[in-house]
């Protein structure tokens, strides 16, 4: 039982056309910060790091043993067909 007495009687939902969303404990539900969209700046930085990391491998080109494998296989008669 609440002891606070004021002229404003707080009755859930009273006087409001669209009641504020509440959780099971009656607290107002506010959007969670972590679900907010990332800023443009942060997205750009992540994108840059990601591409720099990826490009470092791409710039290594085709390893010799892989190139040899592809050339050998492509010269082979693919008897299955």
């Amino acid at each position: 039982m609440k002891t606070r007495k004021t002229n404003e009687v707080e009755t859930p939902g009273s006087g409001a056309d669209t009641p504020e969303p509440r959780d099971a404990m009656g607290r107002p539900i506010t959007p969670r910060k972590t679900e907010m969209r990332l800023g443009r700046e942060a997205q750009a930085r992540i994108g840059q790091q990601l591409r720099a990391m990826y490009e470092a491998v791409v710039n290594e080109g085709v390893p010799p043993q892989i190139e040899e494998l592809v050339r050998r296989l492509s010269e082979q008669d693919n008897g299955a067909a």
Binding site: R45, I46, Q49, L50, A56, V57, I66, S74, A81
Partner: protein, 183 residues
Amino acid sequence: MKLDPAIRDQVLGTVPSLRAFAISLCGNVDRADDLVQETLLRALAHIDSFEPGTNMPAWLFTILRNLFRSEYRKRRREVEDADGRYAETLKSHPEQTGRVEFAEFRNALAKLPSDQREALILVGASGFSYEDAAAICGCAVGTIKSRVNRARTRLADLLAIDGVDDFGPDRATRAVLAGGGRN
């Protein structure tokens, strides 16, 4: 029948990006190169099912991803602890992860669930459209979009990228970004 040299060159042209994708999946260069070789063996044995003029990179990436997934499915214990093992690999063999200077970023990447990690790499680094990435992963376009968004948010958290100044202690990464990244 011998392979059309134009097709062979398309395959070879895709290898560098295919390797980068494989390394980001495995977290280990040697295993990644094995995976790439297995992918190429499989692809060239079934080259008839590739339609000339369609997207060669998307075709090869799909084969590689499926091989990677089925390899993990065979070894159940690895499935359950795939992400933990990935992180361990990075810790114990930093020299095997391609580029030591991206250690901080790779470590953060390793903490993402694997489906978010692959979606982010395909869209953000390999340069696939959301549609191609969805086809490669066998899921809906909306699923890829939400995985990419969640991956970015989590990475920003892990790397503490929220302000203009705080960009983590990784000096090499700073240098790379200061030197380029305008393209």
